[in-house]
């Protein structure tokens, strides 16, 4: 019943035209999702800071078509990324590979956080020790009166 009502409303809204479900732009939406997932990791080489998935450029369309073709042939995502890197270099990857020249890039954030926390910890401990000294100095006069030899050593 609800479905019939919905249809009636849709028909009314549509005026005279019959409505039909639009066909997906891609023949195989499942495949298209995989294509876009790979494309989102690749750089559009002729655009400024865009991914192959986002770009409207001809090159990006061509790349998407290549990825689609390769996936259809049964190649894996890694195969395609490897193929693209072999042809266009690391520049095409938005996620830089982990290797010698990118070592600092990948471990840098870890080092930064570690250094920050280390500095923080030392700072907190240092100022706590300062307080200990201050406390013992505040009590020094009394301590000196009670323990003369200890007081002189200072």
């Amino acid at each position: 019943m609800a479905r019939a009502l919905l249809l009636a409303v849709l028909l009314l809204a549509a005026g005279t035209a019959w409505t039909k479900e639009a066909s997906p732009a891609a023949d195989d939406p499942q495949l298209e999702r995989r294509v876009l997932a790979v494309a989102a990791e690749l750089r559009c080489l002729v655009c400024q800071n865009q991914t192959i998935a986002d770009s409207d450029a001809d090159l990006a369309k061509d790349f998407r078509a290549q990825i689609r073709e390769k996936l259809r042939k049964g190649e894996s995502e890694q195969d395609i990324v490897r193929y693209m890197t072999a042809r266009y270099g690391d520049f095409v990857l938005w996620r830089p590979p982990f290797k010698g020249s990118t070592l600092l890039l990948w471990i840098g954030p870890l080092l930064l956080v570690a250094a920050a926390l280390l500095w923080l910890f030392r700072r907190l401990v240092a100022q706590r020790e300062e307080r200990d000294v201050a406390l013992s100095e505040a009590e020094h006069a009394r301590a000196a009166r009670l323990l003369e030899p200890e007081g002189e050593k200072r």
């Binding site: 849709l10 479900e21 690391d90 520049f91 938005w94 600092l104």
Partner: protein, 665 residues
């Protein structure tokens, strides 16, 4: 003739800036009152001359004077008037002119709102700002003159980049620059404090409202940029970790840290040297941002090397500003590291300091990712791209603890708090956030670890914010009526809470849209329908619609939800007369719970078009959250206690910290 007058006005402004950068500083050092009093006049003079220069450039745009090369490159006789005016800052030279004009505005604001400042302090602050102004004016005049003529003049201008022909983009640069340049005030305060050797609670109190207002502008500028990218670039993304975005995001991160560190310096006297360092670096990152965007180094290291005049100038200026201030810091910092109140390992101070260093580390991470490809390329070690997958992987883990600590800091006592006590105070907030984080994803059908984590952080911040309001009410004069107590709680406190709630809203928005957005790409003929997120889009064809300087293909989509009409969307493709490629204009139906986003793609044949429809749950919470943060900042800056004089500052050194702004000080 008029453009030459504009150039003359710029030259006069440079002379005044040079005067302001020397005489008042010398006067403050030698106790010469007459020299110090020059600063006020020169600041006002710069504002006047830069206003004239800016007005003359705008006039050249309005009357389509294409003999001015800058106008010819960034305007067109068919460009609507509003965009001709916005074209003034649509390119390199004009946006720098806007930069120095805004600096003159901030300097004038300092002269107006800091009447109670001691004379040497005001002279030093304005002197430092004068030096910055002189640097930028020299850069403008010697490398980037906006008034340069080109003969013969072209018959028509090249037009403003169509992407910039948009209200969001008209407002984005001025907002951003108000933020960038606004940080020059706290920077100048920091340098002035180092010069005078006097850095105390009063200094922090003077600096705070300036920092907060600059931060408010930068928050709005970043949010506007993100919003603009979302609706203008046409594929529904809202943050790209683009180097240009990163350039304005880094000063924002550091500015956020600075606001919190200033709060501690004002109330407890701690973190003095750290605060000064942050003030220096926040402004330095504003300059680095300007350098990265303006030197062309981002497009290509080689483009930078082939036309190095501009880049080298900014680089030298950057080194002078950063190097000079750090040298001054190293020389004078030992003087200011005295008299701080100590605090325990677990205290509001230690929590705020933790957040501060993590924000600094996060800034470093963004800087690393932004500069790494440039450095690698410059060193000839290969070309790499650092994009969203990298930043998502390293930035989120760095910032997640910061978000968690937002919930803890405001509820922790100054000086010392015990872990069990804190745990007891926070347990209900924790229970609420855990429960909602587990329940909501289940209710929405689809449990994802990322969503649970994000929701937990968002509800945690919201719940603890509510708790801190409750606490404030309970503690402030217990005898009074609850409403009375709410009214007596200072504006700065509500500002903080509002800003934190804004962070919660932003985190919620990011989480929901990342977790549950859906999109479909379809081929549509008139009458076809497509469904995303429960909304049915019916395609009613495409019509040609003329615009002032373009022709558009404009589609009509009727959107219904369970048979009820929701919206009519008109995504279009514009062909600008001055461009080859058509520009997509997305159509958006915005809502509290979701945005519907439609884009028109290629024409496949006479009746069929590619259409992309997207359902984006809670996306507006991202910008709503930023807006709340900005409002919170404004509320905090409006606290009337910033406008009271600080008694006894003229004494040797303020005794102890200033009275607390927060109820549980």
């Amino acid at each position: 003739m008029l453009p030459e007058l504009g150039q003359f006005a710029l030259a006069l402004a440079l002379v005044l800036a040079a005067l302001q950068g020397s005489l008042p500083l010398a006067g403050a050092a030698r106790g010469n009152s007459a020299w110090m009093s020059v600063a006020r006049t020169t600041a006002h003079g710069q504002l006047a001359f830069l206003g004239i220069a800016f007005g003359l450039l705008a006039y050249s745009f309005v009357v389509n004077d294409f003999t001015v090369a800058y106008v010819a490159n960034h305007s067109n006789s068919r460009l609507p008037l509003a965009y001709r005016i916005a074209g003034v800052w649509g390119g390199h030279e004009g946006s720098l002119l806007l930069w120095v004009l805004i600096l003159a505005l901030w300097m004038t604001a300092v002269t107006v709102f800091s009447r109670r400042l001691p004379q040497e302090m005001l002279a030093r602050v304005l002197g430092v700002m004068g030096l910055v102004s002189a640097g930028f004016l020299a850069f403008l005049l010697f490398t980037s003159n906006p008034f340069g003529r080109a003969f013969p003049a072209p018959p028509d201008g090249r037009d403003l980049n169509p992407l910039l022909q948009d209200p969001g983009m008209v407002l984005h640069p001025p907002m951003l620059y108000m933020g960038y340049v606004g940080f020059s005030v706290v920077f100048a305060f920091a340098i002035a404090a180092l010069l005078s050797g006097r850095l105390d609670a009063a200094w922090a109190r003077w600096s705070r409202p300036w920092t907060t207002v600059a931060w408010v502008f930068l928050t709005l500028g970043n949010a506007l940029g993100s919003w603009w990218a979302y609706y203008e670039l046409g594929w529904g993304g809202w943050w790209f970790w683009d180097p240009v975005e990163n350039s304005s995001f880094m000063p924002w991160l550091l500015g956020t840290a600075l606001i919190h560190s200033l709060a501690v310096t004002e109330k407890r006297g701690s973190f003095r040297s750290w605060t000064v360092l942050l003030a220096i670096f926040t402004f330095a990152f504003s300059l680095i941002g300007t350098f990265l965007v303006r030197s062309g180094v981002l497009t290509s290291v080689h483009a930078f090397a082939s036309d190095p005049a501009r880049g080298v100038f900014i680089l030298a200026f950057l080194m002078a500003v950063i190097g000079g201030s750090l040298a001054l810091f190293a020389w004078r910092a030992s003087r200011i590291r005295t008299g701080a109140d100590r605090f325990g390992l677990l205290s509001r101070e230690s929590l705020l300091l933790t957040n501060n260093v993590l924000l600094a580390a996060a800034t470093g991470t963004v800087l690393l990712g932004t500069l790494y490809p440039l450095a690698l390329d410059a060193l000839g070690l290969g070309k790499v791209s650092v994009g969203a997958p990298y930043f998502d992987a390293v930035f989120v883990p760095t910032v997640a603890p910061v978000l968690f600590l937002i919930g803890v800091g405001p509820l922790a006592r100054w000086r010392k708090v015990s872990l069990p006590e804190l745990a007891v105070r926070l347990r209900w907030a924790f229970a609420v956030s855990l429960a909602s984080a587990l329940a909501v994803p289940l209710a929405l059908g689809g449990w994802k670890p990322f969503v649970t984590f994000g929701l937990m952080l968002a509800t945690w911040i919201a719940a603890t914010s509510a708790l801190s309001v409750w606490d404030a009410v309970k503690r402030a004069s217990p005898a009074a009526h609850p409403w009375r107590r709410l009214a007596e709680t200072p504006a700065a406190f509500y500002g903080m809470v509002l800003a934190h709630v804004g962070v919660a809203a932003l985190v919620l928005g990011v989480t929901m849209v990342k977790g549950y957005e859906t999109q479909k790409d379809v081929r549509m003929e008139a009458g076809d329908t497509v469904e995303v997120g429960g909304y049915v889009f019916r395609f009613d064809g495409v019509a040609k619609v003329p615009g002032p300087n373009y022709v558009a293909d404009r589609a009509t989509l009727h959107v219904t939800n369970r048979g009820e009409h929701v919206a009519t969307l008109h995504p279009s493709r514009r062909s600008y007369f001055s461009q080859d490629k058509p520009m997509t204009e997305a159509a958006i139906d915005a809502g509290v719970g979701r945005d519907l986003y439609a884009t028109l793609g290629d024409e496949l044949n006479a009746t069929t078009w590619l259409v992309r429809v997207q359902h984006k749950p809670f996306i507006d919470w991202i910008w709503g959250g930023a807006l709340l943060m900005a409002l919170g900042g404004l509320l905090a800056a409006s606290d009337r206690r910033y406008r009271l004089t600080v008694p006894g500052w003229r004494g040797e050194r303020a005794v102890g910290p200033a009275p607390s702004l927060l109820p549980h000080g």
